[in-house]
Symmetry: C2
Subunit: 161 residues, 2 copies
């Protein structure tokens, strides 16, 4: 089930969130940031944040926000995170499909990911399957925890038909 | 002369800043934002902001900030603005060259512009001349005040030799 995220949900999700940012393999967040800072970035600064829950367990989450202001506020940006133990079950796909629907309801016309780490092949493959295209490659944009400097992709999808 | 920007400088520069954002030809800022909001975005949230001054007159300005956090905090982002009446005098070039020097002093390794409006040909040409490459094209990313939807470019330069 996907529903809006509460502060309690975020606290329940924090161990997963923290392990993801500490691994430094996918997110451009400070790996040492606090729960409060992460909550601010993931839930308070964006327009909305959602969770994928199975009973009491928070298995995944995403936020949605405008990617730019004024003349670019028709494009939104989302970030997705899934618990390591819940991967391969279609949680990320469901979150992304949900986010596209919410984006359209909120009046956005396109969705853009600014920094998909190129070595995160599972994510790149999934976003492509869901209709996103690589529209840019930023050289050496990410200091990967295991691989050193790797490129990042800008990915984009026009949402309206 | 280029020096760090004060609040007074920003107030002096505001008529220029406001006319630029109201034109909706180059910046992804809300065209109706207040001086206080603009000051926050241009001077307070970035790491630093500088002005190009001729005596009392503020003819141009730029900000510098990290483009990402954590594993991407080696790339900076800058924005430049030049008074309409001072264009063609090399102010933007000097600001950009200055910003690259400051970026290196601050420890950044690369510089990225996330949304160079494709129809802003003078800017695109200048950034190319100064060593930036187009590494991405975001389709219909900008609602231009005169031209309607136009693409935006992601431009990038590795600063270290």
């Amino acid at each position: 089930m996907i529903r809006e995220m509460t502060k309690l949900d975020f606290e329940a999700f924090w161990p997963c969130f923290e392990s993801v940012i500490k691994a430094q393999e996918s997110y451009t967040f400070d790996p040492n940031m606090s729960l409060e800072m992460a909550y601010k970035l993931w839930c308070e600064m964006p327009l909305k944040a959602f969770v994928w829950v199975d009973g009491e367990q928070v298995l995944g989450s995403y936020y949605i926000k405008p990617n730019g202001m004024g003349p670019s506020d028709h494009i939104c940006n989302c970030g997705y995170m899934v618990d390591v133990d819940a991967r391969g079950k279609g949680v990320a796909r469901q979150l992304c499909e949900h986010s596209q629907q919410i984006a359209i309801e909120l009046g956005f016309q396109a969705m853009q990911f600014n920094a998909v780490v190129s070595s995160n092949e599972i994510a790149v493959k999934l976003w492509k399957k869901l209709g996103f295209k690589i529209v840019g490659t930023i050289p050496l944009a990410y200091r990967h925890g295991k691989l050193g400097y790797v490129d990042s992709y800008v990915m984009y999808k026009w949402l309206l038909t």
